[in-house]
């Protein structure tokens, strides 16, 4: 297990969102967390990425308590891309991606050839090689999202947590981002955990699905194990048919309508 949540309790102030949750992320897999709005999936991802400190239980990175490791050391192993991040106006793509090198820099040694190489590689990986000097605010939504992913790639971490990386993107741009994730996993052997809303895309691009409802993990396993008609009813209060995706052979959800939760 590379990353593990052990009996964690998570919340904001007095409001508890997740209680007594266990989850393990294996090396070299793409795990996607699904669940209805407000079920605590982003909260869980933030805790896995030490952006939120659990009020109970612990998060382990390679078997060590993540909150006891120096945060800069964690940042060399684990990258997190929060939901809908914002950048100051006028920041160029290359400058944004270069900021991903922060964990590898000290205040007296700001820029090295390693940094240069990592930034170049991250830009070409995401197909932004020609757009390096463009300000972020002049890009399309898909390009901008790729630029942020590029920043997380330049960080050079084995583990990557992405919170809804496809939000606000049209279908073609969603596919573009998820294809990139697949390449990260396939070509570079990265371990990826993401939160997605689109169940069919989640099924197609993940090795493992984790379904959550009301702060609890309801099911975890391969997409075909998890995405069943009974689970959709239980987790999403959704009446749906599950058929085989004619392209990828993964489960495909065809909604019928909502229904009251039993």
């Amino acid at each position: 297990m590379r990353l593990q949540a052990v009996d964690v309790r998570l919340g904001y102030g007095d409001r508890v969102v997740v209680d007594g949750l266990d989850l393990g992320i294996e090396a070299g897999t793409v795990t996607t967390i699904i669940g209805p709005n407000g079920c605590g999936k982003s909260t869980l991802l933030r805790a896995l990425g030490r952006l939120l400190k659990p009020s109970g239980g612990e998060v382990l990175l390679d078997g060590k308590r993540i909150d006891r490791m120096p945060t800069k050391e964690v940042a060399r192993i684990l990258g997190v891309l929060p939901q809908a991040p914002t950048a100051p106006e006028g920041l160029t793509v290359a400058d944004l991606v270069a900021r991903g090198r922060h964990p590898h820099q000290t205040w007296y040694r700001q820029w090295s050839s390693d940094d240069e190489a990592a930034v170049g590689e991250a830009l070409s990986m995401t197909g932004l090689g020609d757009l390096g000097e463009r300000p972020l605010d002049e890009l399309s939504g898909g390009q901008r999202q790729r630029a942020w992913i590029s920043m997380a790639l330049a960080q050079g971490t084995d583990l990557l947590l992405l919170d809804e990386p496809t939000t606000f993107l049209d279908l073609a741009h969603q596919i573009e981002v998820l294809e990139l994730v697949r390449r990260l996993h396939g070509e570079l052997g990265r371990t990826v955990v993401m939160v997605l809303h689109d169940l069919n895309l989640a099924a197609r691009y993940a090795d493992r699905l984790v379904a959550m409802r009301a702060g609890k993990v309801v099911a975890a396993g391969t997409p075909s194990e998890v995405l069943t008609e009974s689970l959709l009813a239980e987790v999403f209060d959704l009446d749906a048919k599950v058929i085989e995706d004619p392209v990828a052979g993964t489960p495909l959800v065809v909604p019928i309508g909502t229904r009251p939760h039993a």
Binding site: T71, A75, V80, H102
Partner: protein, 350 residues
């Protein structure tokens, strides 16, 4: 927004290296501009001193009238103007960066009112009469007020103060101290006299000892600002991204607040309420530097010093044989300039 609709923009030739060279050139240009401002400040005034005589006074003084004017008045005045200008420019850029608020100025931390309160108190209660004396008190007041604001801003917050709690605490503490100061100066004529000149903001009649008095504080503040710049760059991507990149948010904020306190506390104590420099200058520097604080901070510092010295020179020339306080000139010239700037190009979103 699509790629096709984005305005075509010629790619910067040479990429990162060329950008670096261009930024160094701008830095050199700003430094040259500051040198011009220094020369103007040393040679201009109620009695103009020709440049050869300025040189004479600096290198081989023989006690002529011009020698005395240059050495005992103009040079300390210029030096304090350069120091305070750099300090306020850098403090303003830090403050706007940390709060991500383009209207933030260093006074937001309560330093201005803290300094005013302590100075007036020292005059009324202890009977301090020399400028040298109440600058110490002003400095102490600025530091204490800022620490108080930081502590108040932490109450109820998780993981250190946020920009919002800092701004709220700063506003409340400032208003409270201002009320106390006002009631004191209404009771004491001598304190009133000092206070009204301090409030206008001036760098006139500061001796060389004042320069040495504030130098260590401003030096320490500049060092902290330099250390703070990379962290501030990651913070400008949002707290979550900064944390993900391994930045310790609480430490970065504390270093930033310490730098702003030292810089603006020292200059406010020595020169009075000149916080307009801190508000305006970063907006002039940002179009040149872009959003990288490693360049924005030095640019703001040099431009702050230029603005302060040039405004002071104008103040010495327009009302001969009298003088206009530099704070008055800065506000009179700076405000319309600032409005024009903001109307012509929208201020950069932080």
């Amino acid at each position: 927004m699509s790629t096709a609709l984005a305005p075509p923009r010629p790619p910067a030739p040479g990429g990162v290296r060329a950008t670096y060279r261009r930024r160094l050139l701008v830095l050199a240009g700003l430094f040259a501009a500051l040198m011009v401002a220094v020369v103007l400040s040393v040679s201009t005034g109620a009695k103009p001193v020709p440049l050869p005589e300025v040189w004479h006074a600096i290198t081989a003084p023989t006690g002529t009238e011009n020698d005395i004017i240059v050495r005992s008045l103009r040079i300390p005045r210029t030096a304090i103007g350069v120091l305070a200008g750099i300090a306020l420019g850098v403090a303003g850029a830090l403050m706007q960066g940390h709060t991500r608020n383009p209207l933030a100025d260093p006074g937001l931390l309560g330093v201005t009112q803290g300094a005013a309160f302590a100075m007036v108190l020292s005059i009324m209660v202890i009977g301090v009469t020399s400028l040298y004396g109440y600058i110490w008190f002003g400095l102490a007041g600025a530091l204490i007020a800022s620490v108080g604001v930081f502590a108040l801003g932490m109450v109820g917050g998780r993981g250190g103060p946020t920009p919002v709690t800092l701004a709220l605490a700063g506003t409340a503490v400032s208003a409270f101290l201002y009320a106390l100061t006002s009631s004191m100066v209404l009771m004491d004529e001598q304190a009133m006299d000092v206070f009204r000149f301090w409030q206008a903001g001036s760098i006139a009649a500061r001796g060389g000892d004042v320069v040495w008095q504030v130098l260590p504080f401003i030096g320490a503040g500049l060092l902290l600002a330099l250390i703070n710049a990379p962290g501030l760059n990651t913070l400008s991507l949002g707290e979550d991204v900064a944390r993900a990149l391994g930045q310790n948010i609480a430490v970065t904020r504390a270093v930033g607040v310490a730098a702003v306190t030292l810089l603006s506390g020292a200059s406010v104590a020595a020169c009075g309420a000149l916080s307009f420099v801190g508000l305006m200058v970063p907006h002039l520097a940002r179009p040149l530097s872009g959003p990288d604080h490693r360049w924005l901070l030095p640019y703001s510092g040099l431009m702050g010093a230029c603005a302060l010295l040039l405004a002071d020179v104008v103040g010495r020339v327009v009302a001969r044989p009298g003088e206009l306080e530099v704070g008055v000139v800065l506000a009179l010239l700076g405000a319309p300039f600032f409005v024009a700037l903001v109307r012509r190009r929208k201020p950069v979103r932080l």
